[in-house]
Amino acid sequence: MLRLIQLELQKLWLNRASRVLIIISFILPFTVLILSSIKINFFGFFTLELGELGIFNFPIIWHITTFFAAQFKFFFAIVVVSMIGNEYSNKTLKQNLIDGLSKKEFILSKFYTIVFFSLCATILIGLATFTIGMYYSSYTEANIIFRESEFLLAYFVKLVGFFSLCLFLGMLVKRSAFALGFLFILYILEWIIFGLVSWQADSLDIAFNVKQFFPLESMWNLINQPMQRVVMTKFPDKTDIMYDYAVHWYEVAIVLGWTAIFIFSSYRILKKRDL
């Protein structure tokens, strides 16, 4: 396993484009996080301090940081599709196999790298959130701090699931740009099916129930948007904006299911294909 990760990391790290993208995908969420946590003085007119809004309080901070950090996953997604696309266009995939890598090992080396990257991202976000939280939060009891830290798990699963989808699309179409296009098409497709179902069933509830099983929607559902929740904490009496933002086991299970399907299908595609 270590050998497979080393293999892939060498391929990625020595490539300038992917190295830059990896660095960006780590640095950018942090910069945003840190910038937002400092006091910004707008030329003496007013000071903007997001910490004052209470969004850096435990436990809500877990929700907020993981949600916003997850939006930066797109940078590494480009790396994932290009690491497949390049292997095809340079024919190095063929050469790797001839040199003695099995097709299974090839897919596994990509998958392990995805897991490895997601793990690093999760740990870093976890540490940053903890530090910022300790600095700003009004509550610092252990049981409050670690309440809702399951958002970290959700973040991890979300990254692994999303990158597995990218890996699968990359294997399917062999070209990085087309794979990203497919991702967008899939997004639209999910909405079209959602529209069809809600039109046929005359009920949004059923449509949402169906939609939660779609790949992109299931990943989105893992960490619901936290804005509404922030508003809720400000106006606790407004019960009509209540919504379910928790991380549920079945949400995790759906995404893990998709991950397994994507990785296994990638392997099937590679196995059947003549290179």
Binding site: L7, L14, D274
Partner: protein
């Protein structure tokens, strides 16, 4: 002799097209084999199948004694196909390190093999700065990293200039001299003739011949003849029992033998018949002529 690769009734279909048809042959240790065939005759497909990158339709093959899985066997095989495939953004050394990791070989081999192909002084240069000849030599170095029992080369001199072709051939000869089995696919006949001891001839995916290069055609050679008495010579030749067929090209007459006969004996016969030859050469068909005969007749 120890078998290295055994292929039994291998068939590969791409849709309606049958690229390889019921192919069987065995590669034994220590020989230099050529797979010969025109473009599109199934050479690369066959190599692709045994190297695990193309899926077979029917039949089977096994490496070595048959108890090793293809995946493990490939760790004892070195192969380069069509054109060198490396990561353009890595240096030669980094590329070879990657191959070492895949094959599970120690990094210490890298310099040794770069030396063999004469690229040691360029090892820190990026692959994309290499000329085609250098790329091909790097591919050979990469294939040699695990000290393979068999080296598979698919058209290794394709697209190279004469100097590059010469360099590659010298390297191949050097490797063969060390006792490494070599399987060389090519459509260049003189290449196979110069390098190989055994040959498998393919046409449209079918095997036409497999065996030693010098026994490829059951032929006793032919005479090239010229004489003043052109017409008489023709008549005598056609009546002669040792002569299978006669071809006329202007002044030059080519007489094919169906039985062994020395030039001296032939000359004597002609002299007795009163024909004085002004030109007599006995020759064997070149591989090219043999190959064309073989592929034309069927």
């Amino acid at each position: 002799m120890e078998p290295i690769l055994t292929i039994n009734n291998l068939t590969k279909k791409f849709g309606y097209l049958t690229a390889v048809k019921n192919l069987s042959f065995t590669i034994h240790k220590g020989n230099v084999y050529g797979i010969l065939g025109p473009n599109g005759s199934g050479k690369s497909t066959t190599l692709g199948i045994v190297l695990n990158v193309v899926n077979k339709t029917q039949g089977d093959f096994h490496w070595f004694d048959g108890n090793t899985s293809t995946h493990d066997a490939l760790k004892h095989v070195g192969a380069i196909i069509e054109r060198p495939n490396f990561y353009s953004y890595m240096t030669a050394e980094q590329n070879l390190k990657l191959v070492c990791k895949i094959k599970g070989v120690d990094h210490s081999k890298i310099n040794e093999k770069l030396e063999v192909v004469g690229l040691l002084d360029r090892k820190d240069h990026k692959f994309r700065t290499y000329s085609l000849g250098m790329k091909q030599r790097l591919a050979i170095a990469s294939a040699l990293l695990n000290d393979p029992e068999i080296l598979i080369l698919d058209e290794p001199t394709n697209g190279l200039d004469p100097q590059g072709i010469h360099q590659i051939r010298e390297i191949i000869k050097g490797i063969a001299a060390n006792g490494t089995t070599i399987l060389l696919a090519s459509h260049l006949l003189d290449e196979v003739e110069k390098v190989c001891t055994h040959v498998v001839v393919l046409r449209k995916g079918e095997k036409l011949y497999s065996g030693r290069v010098d026994e490829m055609i059951n032929s006793h050679g032919f005479f090239e003849l010229k004489a003043e008495k052109h017409q008489e010579l023709l008549t005598v030749l056609e009546a002669h029992s040792n002569i299978e067929k006669v071809k006329e090209e202007g002044e030059l007459i080519t007489a094919f033998l169906n039985e062994p006969m020395s030039a001296a004996d032939f000359n004597k016969v002609m002299f007795e018949k009163g024909i004085l030859l002004s030109h007599l050469v006995k020759r064997k068909e070149s591989l090219e002529e043999q190959f064309l005969q073989l592929t034309d007749h069927q």
